[in-house]
């Protein structure tokens, strides 16, 4: 089997160690870095995301695939130019102010990292000001916010107000159990992620990649 196909299958099957060893093998064999990335790692992760969205795969399998991809990415990174890395996009992520639930947010962060995005995870109970300050500081492309409770999701609207008041260029995606498309539109966010895979798909959509 050709090495790219082996990388693809290792990521599809969530074989973390095997994905890394196959990527190393491909690098040693002087296979083009972009071919390993696009036809091996990214192509597999795209299919994993689709299968998750269709209910064919579930969160544990997606996480293993994301870890497999992340392992491969780490091996590829030294071979990218800084321009290549910057083009993937940067996401600031956190749980909205007042809320301490972080499982969903952590899953999204892992899937974003696994897909090659740079992620700044601010943790839980993040104030609107902190989201915006961090995004400005690291020149982020996207702010991603999570909330589990109706009482805490209101602070997502405050982030939007800060962004609009300062005319900042960030795209904003929101998610979590009480949030829906209607709330997303109400506060003027750019997208609502129904689940981790949907969130990932929409972040990729924002950035055209």
């Amino acid at each position: 089997m050709d090495i790219i196909k082996e990388i693809y299958e290792a990521v599809m099957e969530g074989k973390v160690d095997e994905a890394s060893s196959r990527v190393q093998q491909a690098l040693d064999s002087k296979v083009e870095v972009n071919e390993i990335l696009n036809k091996g790692l990214i192509a597999a992760m795209d299919v994993v995301g689709e299968k998750f969205g269709e209910g064919e795969l579930f969160i544990p399998q997606v996480l293993w695939s994301a870890k497999a991809m992340q392992g491969g990415m780490n091996l590829l990174k030294p071979n990218f130019s800084s321009k290549d890395l910057a083009e993937k996009g940067t996401v600031v992520i956190g749980t909205a102010k007042g809320d301490i639930h972080d499982i969903g947010k952590n899953l999204v962060a892992i899937m974003l990292e696994g897909s090659g995005f740079k992620v700044a995870d601010l943790g839980v109970d993040v104030t609107p000001e902190r989201f915006v300050e961090k995004a400005v500081e690291i020149k982020a492309d996207v702010i991603a916010m999570s909330a589990l409770l109706t009482t805490t999701m209101q602070s997502m609207g405050e982030v939007m107000s800060l962004i609009q008041a300062k005319k900042l260029p960030f795209k904003v995606i929101i998610g979590g159990a009480p949030v829906d498309q209607a709330f997303c539109q109400e506060i003027g966010a750019d997208a609502y992620g129904m689940d981790a895979a949907d969130g990932l798909r929409k972040v990729k959509g924002f950035l055209g990649r």
């Binding site: 996480l63 870890k67 301490i100």
Partner: protein, 197 residues
């Protein structure tokens, strides 16, 4: 208190209706094996005798209770460790198992309250959690004020969240005029929920 999590329930909760691949089954079984050491369920309730300054949900009830339960901090500390160790799937599965246990602990607590109420002549009751169906999150302070001498080990944040996270609290009422019943239909995940079968 020993609360069991069945493999089938855990698989269903993480999305699987059919048996998954052996690798996942092995991890699920390993995680279930950890539960006894990681879970220290504690629960307590109190009958409320006051008639003044009651949360609106308890007003007019003949018999009133507040109750809370927690799994203690060990499970969620292990979940954090697993994330830090680069094992997010395992962390997610363990966290989900914890959610099953705290739900069961809440049901056991509710059963104890219903028994207490039945001994006092009341059969029909209703429980509600702060943050749901018209009960403000601020009511947490009132509940934990009533339970303060029971040393459950639950702390409230300034936004009334509970630490450990795998904790729950509720108010319960019997007698008087009961309003409302539980329905899944208001839930944002109603159409996708795997738990409704």
């Amino acid at each position: 208190m020993n609360i069991q999590v069945h493999r089938e329930d855990l698989l269903k909760q993480i999305g699987y209706k059919e048996p998954p691949q052996p690798k996942l089954l092995k991890i699920v079984d390993e995680i279930l094996g950890l539960m006894e050491d990681l879970v220290e369920p504690t629960q307590a309730f109190k009958e409320i005798q006051d008639e003044k300054d009651l949360p609106p949900f308890l007003m007019g009830a003949a018999l009133k209770y507040s109750g809370a339960a927690t799994l203690g901090p060990k499970l969620e500390n292990r979940v954090k460790d697993l994330f830090d160790e680069g094992k997010p799937a395992e962390a997610y599965i363990l966290d989900t198992a914890g959610s099953i246990v705290i739900t069961k602990a809440g049901n056991i607590l509710w059963g104890e309250i219903k028994q207490d109420a039945a001994a006092k002549g009341f059969k029909q009751g209703l429980r509600r959690t702060p943050g749901c169906q018209g009960i403000d999150l601020e009511t947490q302070q009132w509940i934990f004020g009533k339970l303060a001498d029971l040393d459950l080990g639950i702390k409230l944040t300034t936004s009334y969240m509970m630490f450990p996270r795998k904790s729950l609290s509720f108010l319960a009422r019997f007698g008087g005029r009961l309003k409302g019943t539980f329905s899944c239909k208001g839930c944002p995940q109603y159409t996708d929920c795997t738990l409704r079968g």
